[in-house]
Symmetry: D2
Subunit: 345 residues, 4 copies
Amino acid sequence: MIRFDSDYTQGAHPRILDALVRTNMVQTCGYAEDEYSEEARALIRKACEAENADVHFLIGGTGTNTTVIAASLRPYEGVLCAATGHINVHESGAIESSGHKVIALPDVNGKLTAAAAEAFCAVYDADPTKEHMVRPGMIYVSQPTETGTVNSASELTALKEVCDRHGMYLFVDGARLGYALAAEGNDVTLPFLAKTADVFYIGGTKVGALFGEAVVIAYDALKTGFRYMIKQRGSLLAKGRLLGVQFREMFTDGLYEEMGRQAIEASRRLKAIFEGAGYPFACDSPTNQQFPILPDEMLEKLSGDFAFSFWGKADETHSVARFCTSWATTEEELDALETALNAPV
Amino acid sequence: MIRFDSDYTQGAHPRILDALVRTNMVQTCGYAEDEYSEEARALIRKACEAENADVHFLIGGTGTNTTVIAASLRPYEGVLCAATGHINVHESGAIESSGHKVIALPDVNGKLTAAAAEAFCAVYDADPTKEHMVRPGMIYVSQPTETGTVNSASELTALKEVCDRHGMYLFVDGARLGYALAAEGNDVTLPFLAKTADVFYIGGTKVGALFGEAVVIAYDALKTGFRYMIKQRGSLLAKGRLLGVQFREMFTDGLYEEMGRQAIEASRRLKAIFEGAGYPFACDSPTNQQFPILPDEMLEKLSGDFAFSFWGKADETHSVARFCTSWATTEEELDALETALNAPV
Amino acid sequence: MIRFDSDYTQGAHPRILDALVRTNMVQTCGYAEDEYSEEARALIRKACEAENADVHFLIGGTGTNTTVIAASLRPYEGVLCAATGHINVHESGAIESSGHKVIALPDVNGKLTAAAAEAFCAVYDADPTKEHMVRPGMIYVSQPTETGTVNSASELTALKEVCDRHGMYLFVDGARLGYALAAEGNDVTLPFLAKTADVFYIGGTKVGALFGEAVVIAYDALKTGFRYMIKQRGSLLAKGRLLGVQFREMFTDGLYEEMGRQAIEASRRLKAIFEGAGYPFACDSPTNQQFPILPDEMLEKLSGDFAFSFWGKADETHSVARFCTSWATTEEELDALETALNAPV
Amino acid sequence: MIRFDSDYTQGAHPRILDALVRTNMVQTCGYAEDEYSEEARALIRKACEAENADVHFLIGGTGTNTTVIAASLRPYEGVLCAATGHINVHESGAIESSGHKVIALPDVNGKLTAAAAEAFCAVYDADPTKEHMVRPGMIYVSQPTETGTVNSASELTALKEVCDRHGMYLFVDGARLGYALAAEGNDVTLPFLAKTADVFYIGGTKVGALFGEAVVIAYDALKTGFRYMIKQRGSLLAKGRLLGVQFREMFTDGLYEEMGRQAIEASRRLKAIFEGAGYPFACDSPTNQQFPILPDEMLEKLSGDFAFSFWGKADETHSVARFCTSWATTEEELDALETALNAPV
């Protein structure tokens, strides 16, 4: 079985695993207050050109999204996001479990547009009974989006302007940020994010680490009490050093960027393989996830040797599948897929 | 100023107020364990032909919706409702504040259809990653709906069948139930509701009482611990007798039905007045709320002497307004409206 | 049966009920934005000598406590209170249901002392792992306390100083405030409370109204978004006028003070009756609740004709009972109690 | 600096780390549905002699406690525990953040006694206003306790009997379970726990793993929907295989027991070192944590070369410190401590 069903089918990138092995017997204090974590925070601040940002290490995406949102909003505030947003559909109600409404708006290519957010806020602002409604307090976007697309710098700037006009925070979920940074045509950098978003995170779990997400808090008012929130929400790792060691390695000698690039190169070939076999795509993704539309028969045939995700029905006889690449995707795996796709039935 | 902006612009129906005055100096115990409340519960059970139902008195709609939903669902479950549903748009995130997602589906004439609910559940059931999603645990409908329409008995039965197929409860918000019961063409009775819904309530606040909602719990598993929930959610009135006295009066000599009929008659005339003046409606409501579409100029003119609700823009120069009637609406008030609508500008 | 089991055994004081009757057919808008409510707010601001305070009307004590606390604290903060505090023992976990820990400290005569609060905060501040603990964000006291005692002005000032030293709010639950204001020896006034507490409330439910609590927010940062919170927590009464009318009456011609005085006078006689019959008290209460210690046999005998609350066992054969007076307590009721207490067994 | 401040100062036991290295490049699916996790679950079921138990892998203690408690209780229920219990003092209000009260009772040697729990429940059951209180729905104990003591089989059985009498679950937090299993005099085994507790967990984070807690659910009604809860609470690791691989290794060839024994042997010598130097202990711990009482001067001196935890003041000039051992504690580290303790000042 060759797996393309997610970007976390292996353990960690060998360099990251080696770093864990090398430091395994060193004694440190807990809860990410050790020297490795301190160094990793410094490296991330530098990469973001954000001297004054707070950097925190959490374990996984759902815990990070919940902690950030619960730490930022007042009880009667909700978070705007694309209807396809991860917090809206794939976190088992984690945001609501912390008391906050996810206000889902129709997306365009997986993106929440500034126009849609502005229109929503305008209607809300004009409503004389707004105290009976949930106040929008934050915009959540993921970069890349759930369908693999990438917000441009100007799109994020426009969202930030909506936030500023309406008293909201901008939060960027970067669970797969490495793939957006390496995408063709991308113009969003870490320093840009640190300047534009009030809070964002750099994903490790889906980009080569065993696990781990680095939250960068740029906006001062969001810094207070954040470690209490991490602890309360179960996201404060006792052996926090493991996060420090991994992120220190990822931000040394460009490993994070390198892993992104490797996945994007593999994804480009993956795309070409489906195109070559004559299949269209549900969306045009420049990142590490591809969403080809295939006859159900072909998916059935492939499923014997390949793992991928079912993404939805396209019509009676076709479905959208999701295939992911990562730093670990090999030429041999792609060759095998190409052969299978082009084999006579 | 003549008010049509809600159905609670006055205090209570004179008979209800008299009952409160008559019993004011009688000593009772608190928290709706007094004799008045006990009698009221018996009257409601009888009217519902539901000997074994539990009946509880709460104060207002939002508190009742939150209490019922929080008492019924497990933490990872959500509640399906029409996108226009009260719990989705007009309760300041009360349901989410208790940890539960409101899963909003497009409505047809204000109604959540069984087809839409079934389709949603079918997709959910087929999803191999459903543990990453919110489990639909309840269907919420209001009777009448937010746009004044009324679910038929067969529509409610169809929703209940969806519930049974997918392990969900059916909850009917009857904040304005009196108006549905009196609507032309309505075939849903209290006994039918007690047989079909797992839990529903009979609204007093919007149907002639000072305040108060009577929750009828038909399904045994939902009965346990409900009084704890009422207390915890701030909906257990210390002087619970006030609820008992009011509902006892409403369910004596047909007062509840009478108040519904009065409002519906007034609403019928209200509708005729707008029709007579040549205005269309955003929806065809047989209950006590009418949603005429008027030129903004006319609305501006009316607003000097009449209070009504702004419901949304219809086009550049027209808006949808909401006008409500109640037991207290007088012929004189309607006459004044008719005159104003037909006066030369 | 003569009831001394609570201070809300009747409906409302006749003047309050009359006011409701008089205004019943006047049309107003909802949600306490009507003129009666506006006037009541002005009267309360004046009585508190607090021009800039926000005044809100909520329905009952539990809803008010939850709304105030949830509106004030960040998710990782808790509220300090006496172990006997109402929020700690008699609200079915309402505060915890909004996510906040009630940090209960041993009380002295029902009171949380400044020394106890300071000692707790000092230990907390010195703890290097405080991020693993709940941050104390508020001190909650009720005036009078659960055992009928009254905090002096200097005691409240000392608590406020602890709050200021440790970044906490001071919140005074005044569900029975009228009885404290009228107590012998009391030196705490409404203007003092408005100056000393960040937020407090003036109770109506237990002091002669049908229901209702007037929250006075003195501290600016607590004002934002409070109406959203009231709505979300189910405490925004649709017919908010009912609260306005009642509080307007209570703050006209000294009715609130008068009701307090009547209850205190009745309580003084109640106390004398038990003393005269030779019974001691579990605590020395200058307010409207008395806690005599009686032989279980006597309690058994009394329970045939009198309702009172069981407060706890004193020893094998004696129990503490709670007897309450109110504006409605009559000389005849007290006479009957005296006779019963002194009757030969 | 030699660290005795916690039992997680290193990474993982070399065998566990090797297992992660060996399996790093194997492709698997996510979320602990892989073969390693399946094997680990089977091994744990076998070790517990609990064929029908559900086994789930979560990341850390706080997340596990919150998930188990939130999955088990209804909204108005709370959890009984010793005042020193981890959920009461060291989880930043995580349990309350999920809506539930932690009902803290005085402990004896760190233990919640059956007598204390029974007495609490008896008072609760006798209270006629119990609906105004939090219903005790679960007993939480940790094994070993926060002060290193161990509940005997008969003590746990007695607690379970209290649970059965009062409709509560018994939940055993085994974050350090390996040390209890290896303690001198311990008579509580994994099969005993699986028979006695409704749900318990086997800690990895503090017993030699990088991280990870294995929850064993014995009681059927608690099994439903548990994976939704894990996901919602942010405790479902994307690369769940990491948990499977670690627990598979821990439950192969007795590694879990071996790590426990190593720590206990080191702890015994640690205890002897303090005793030899003439210092008393705040409690008599047979597990891997020791709580010597030392002059503040000596603690100050030690703190230059040794890390340990400050546990509280004993008197004006002495404090209680906590020293922990683990599988990784070396003879050299203990020698150094002994030398330092006995060195002339």
